[in-house]
């Protein structure tokens, strides 16, 4: 905790140094350029309470003789009913770039977050807004408490010499062509603790991609035939961080309250990868390889907690003891991913075509046994998964007199091989052989690009959708206002009984209001 406080004070001092001279450009102190932003986000709730927070199991047998599911409000909430807010957050994010000479530079990204949701909304208990219950959580370089989080999000050193580039430290690594779809962009896990990653989609994973400790080495290979042919090697020696989920009881909790999951993260497991990129004629390409512990992992049954002894009941002491609670263990087996991407400048059509594909021969899944709607994950199995994204981007003049509309279209197919009977993924969702997803993105600037009208739509052919219309208003140099609305529907509304443990996300329908002051 002392280290956490020291970090917080250090950040506050840096912030104080940055503010006074922010009227023009980034602040410069010696070799350091400091930029950043303060952001206030409000996400009111408009639907119902998140059922994951008050779903119980009963010993009273249900269909098939297995425990029946009950609604037992207030469950993990303090008060029953729809909460007022899903998120109310303040964030201060700094980018400190220091260049010492042509060869050496350093980048630091400290970030402070104050989650006020449960202060503003009495429906919630004092859940941990930033849970880190896994071994190796120190790798995150973060500290704080239930509401406050201070993090040295990125900290890396760059060395450039001739054709070599070396980056060492805690960093984000993003690969691939697709936007918002994780096909090649899987080097870093995601931090879904705050709002499950349904922020403004145009910012993709920047705020939620978890920077990890990597050595990243690039060498541009001199040759006369393939411009910019570059080999890249990445190594995380074993500081493993899994995907991070919201705490149970949090507004965006995706784990039903009758489950207790223990994240079994083995430190020392390296992440190793590489890619080759270059340009041939009008085509830019990459060939990629990555092996790492799986981010989300797969769950297996661990125990049924005996009742009524503390802490046997998942909801204890929220509800009277006596309701069963299932303990699962989340394991993160190693996966091997090979893939590649290409893009092509289709000049005649004014469009860029993109293709991205990966094969994971050993993706982990949970194999379930047991009857009815409440089977038990008993072991982890491997299945081959092939993902392919086709995309096209084309600016188009749609409305006379206005700037062109940026239009992006993506098609993702996920093919999972082998026997998928009673197989579920890391989120607890049933696995289909082929899953098809379309995404569309429109961005129409108006008023000389001061205001952007945006629309994102994700459609699953298995009847699910996520729509996000939004407006972004740029006011001068420092102020940005965002208003967007998340709307989930279709198969995403399936009750828990049909997709064990999954999030049926329509509780998250609602607007986001966001004020940003940058400097």
């Amino acid at each position: 905790m002392r280290q956490g406080k020291l970090l917080i004070w250090g950040l506050l001092i840096l912030f104080a140094m940055a503010i006074p001279s922010a009227a023009w450009a980034q602040t410069t102190i010696g070799p350091f350029e400091i930029t950043g932003y303060y952001q206030y986000t409000i996400n009111p709730a408009t639907e119902h309470a998140n059922r994951n927070n008050f779903t119980c199991l009963s010993f009273i047998a249900g269909p098939g003789g297995t425990p029946a599911r009950l609604s037992c409000p207030p469950g993990l909430q303090r008060k029953a009913g729809k909460p007022d807010f899903l998120l109310m957050r303040q964030m201060l994010d700094l980018n400190i770039f220091g260049k010492f000479n042509e060869n050496w530079s350093v980048t630091l990204e400290p970030r402070l977050i104050f989650d006020m949701t449960k202060i503003a909304d009495s429906h919630f208990r004092q859940y941990d807004s930033f849970p880190t219950k896994f071994s190796g959580s120190g790798n995150l370089l973060e500290g704080g408490g239930n509401d406050f989080n201070a993090e040295l999000r990125q900290a890396y050193l760059d060395y450039r010499e001739g054709n070599w580039w070396l980056r060492i430290g805690k960093q984000q690594i993003a690969w691939g062509e697709a936007l918002g779809l994780r096909v090649l962009d899987t080097v870093n896990p995601l931090d879904l603790r705050q709002n499950f990653g349904i922020d403004r989609i145009f910012e993709e994973f920047d705020k939620i991609r978890i920077p990890q400790w990597f050595i990243r080495a690039n060498y541009t290979i001199p040759n006369e035939s393939i411009p910019d042919l570059t080999g890249e090697f990445i190594l995380n020696p074993g500081a493993v961080v899994p995907a991070l989920l919201p705490a149970q009881g949090a507004p965006y909790n995706v784990v039903p309250s009758f489950l207790k999951i223990r994240d079994n993260v083995n430190q020392g497991e390296p992440t190793v990868g590489g890619r080759l990129t270059g340009t041939v004629s009008d085509v830019q390409f990459s060939v990629n390889f990555l092996t790492k512990p799986d981010d989300f992992g797969a769950k297996v049954f661990r125990t049924v907690f005996p009742t009524p002894v503390f802490p046997s009941n998942c909801l204890f002491p929220v509800t009277p003891p006596g309701l069963p609670c299932v303990g699962l263990e989340n394991k993160h087996p190693r996966v091997y991913i090979v893939g590649g991407s290409v893009n092509y400048n289709w000049a005649a059509a004014g469009a860029i075509l993109r293709l991205e594909t990966t094969v994971t021969p050993d993706a982990p899944f949970s194999r379930f046994t047991g009857p009815g709607d409440n089977p038990t994950p008993t072991r982890i199995i491997e299945r081959p998964v092939w993902k392919t994204v086709l995309a096209v981007d084309r600016p188009t003049y749609v409305i006379p007199g206005l700037d062109s509309m940026t239009i992006g279209f993506q098609f993702l197919e996920t093919f999972t091989g082998g026997n998928l009977s009673r197989v579920m993924d890391g989120a607890g969702a049933k696995v289909d052989t082929a899953v098809h997803v379309f995404t569309v993105f429109f961005q129409q600037p108006i008023l000389d690009k001061r205001v952007s009208l945006e629309f994102f739509g994700l459609f699953d052919t298995d009847d699910g959708h996520w729509l996000q219309p939004g407006v972004r208003w740029e006011i001068g140099n420092h102020v940005r206002l965002d208003l967007y609305y998340n709307k989930f529907g279709g198969a995403e509304k399936r009750p828990v009984s049909k997709s064990f443990g999954t999030s049926y996300m329509n509780f998250a329908n609602g607007p986001y209001f966001r004020f940003t002051y940058g400097f």
Partner: protein
């Protein structure tokens, strides 16, 4: 293209000596008493090439305008016949310019090595049937202005566009202020701009061509430093030697943490809120030469910015100096002079989304360089006026002389009465202004280079 007759040119009265020479010799067809180039080549003053009347604004205006005068809205009419239309609008709205003597140095706004190459390579440039520029041996042009005595609009445009900044490579630092009709500052943008010439290289080895990039004419990199939400955004453009082909564009987008190839078709829309210029307007004319059609509308003496406008490079400069000092004012003051021969070149875009009916480039007949443009909307109404000021920078050009380059820009949207005023600086953070500095494409303007130099 049919050349306008001498009589059609918009000179003032009493050109007896010129009229005589027109009948007597070929040079007068271009309004010259003798060829400028041979005078430059022999180290003589180019004054001998022009009638005295066009070398002195006092004589030219019959004493109504003299060097040292400040022209404002009260007396803008005095220069109405020798100024771009946009400048008159600017003056009538509050702009002020100071009049200077005509500068007769051929290298006032061009590097000396460029002028020497122009002389050395004269007569070796050809245009193919499509208007594409080549060296007579079928290879890309080898440097300097290819047509030092341009007879067509296309030749004049190639003189400027082949290498608008004249250097083999350069890196500049700019800050843009967006100002509305009330004079309020709306936005400040900062950028680092780089250009690396791949053909027609004159100073930095390998010369004249980078073999690996022989199909390109140059690459550019625009790296944004402010405001905060574009800090670190970089735009790399590959401009092809084939002047009918649109550039290729790659971005480094900090939010995405990776580079992304994007279409290059959004050329007629502002790059950022409040800005009055489009991608097509950078360097006054940023689209490949053959994506527009060009017509020479005339040659005449005209006002143009003086090389004395050194902007932010003047230590302690104030607005009283009329050198385009950095300021938040809507109309930064600058100094102008009468140029004896200005080519009026009208361009019409043939690109999707083009919302200009016409752009007039004013190309100096001595410098073969454009510093001003008027732009009309699709209804034929004057829309924009741009001024690119060029002067000494105080830095070496690494070819034995002091570098001359852009010192300021005014992008004026005359219909909205908005301005984007640009100043250039010697240094910001760790980046400094430099030319012919052996900046390489591999180090700076590739996807992998953008990634490894990302500031965020």
């Amino acid at each position: 293209m049919k050349e306008p007759k001498y009589e059609e040119l918009n000179y003032f009265a009493h050109w007896t000596r010129r009229g005589f020479l027109k009948r007597a010799g070929a040079w007068a067809g271009a309004g010259l008493l003798q060829p400028v180039l041979s005078l430059i080549g022999s180290g003589k003053s180019i004054a001998a090439a022009y009638p005295d009347e066009v070398l002195s604004i006092e004589k030219y205006t019959k004493g109504r305008v003299k060097p040292g005068m400040v022209i404002s809205k009260d007396d803008a009419d005095l220069v109405k016949d020798i100024a771009p239309e946009g400048l008159i609008v600017e003056l009538q709205r509050g702009g002020q310019i100071k009049i200077a003597e005509t500068d007769l140095r051929p290298d006032a706004v061009n590097p000396k090595f460029w002028v020497e190459a122009t002389l050395r390579n004269k007569g070796q440039a050809i245009l193919d049937k499509n208007g594409q520029l080549w060296h007579k041996d079928g290879k890309p042009w080898i440097g300097g202005a290819p047509f030092p005595e341009p007879k067509t609009a296309l030749e004049a445009v190639w003189n400027y566009k082949f290498n608008p900044r004249r250097y083999d490579d350069l890196r500049v630092i700019s800050k843009v202020i967006g100002i509305d009709s009330n004079g309020s500052v709306l936005r400040r943008d900062g950028a680092i701009y780089m250009q690396i010439q791949t053909v027609g290289r004159l100073v930095v080895d390998p010369k004249p061509i980078l073999p690996k990039y022989k199909d390109e004419i140059h690459r550019t990199l625009l790296s944004l430093t402010e405001p905060f939400d574009v800090y670190g955004l970089a735009v790399a453009s590959t401009i092809y030697y084939d002047a009918a082909k649109l550039p290729d564009t790659d971005l480094y987008i900090p939010t995405l943490r990776r580079t992304r190839r994007v279409p290059s078709t959004q050329r007629f829309e502002s790059a950022s809120p409040y800005s009055t210029y489009y991608t097509t307007d950078l360097d006054l004319q940023n689209d490949p030469v053959l994506t527009w059609s060009w017509k020479l509308e005339g040659r005449k003496p005209m006002l143009a910015p003086s090389a004395s406008n050194i902007g932010a490079r003047a230590k302690g400069g104030t607005k009283e100096d009329f050198i385009f000092p950095p300021s938040d004012e809507k109309f930064p003051r600058s100094t102008w002079e009468l140029r004896p021969e200005m080519l009026l070149v009208d361009g019409v875009p043939h690109l999707p989304g083009a919302n200009y009916s016409r752009k007039r480039l004013y190309i100096d007949g001595i410098y073969q360089r454009s510093q001003m443009a008027d732009i009309w909307d699709m209804a034929g109404k004057l829309w924009k006026f741009f001024v690119f000021l060029t002067g000494k920078t105080g830095r070496s050009d690494n070819a034995g002389a002091e570098a001359v380059d852009l010192t300021g820009i005014v992008f004026a949207d005359l219909q909205r009465d908005y301005h984007s005023n640009v100043n250039f600086y010697d240094k910001v953070g760790d980046i400094d202004f430099r030319v012919n500095a052996n900046l390489t494409i591999e180090d700076w303007i590739t996807s992998s280079a953008m990634l490894r130099r990302a500031r965020r």
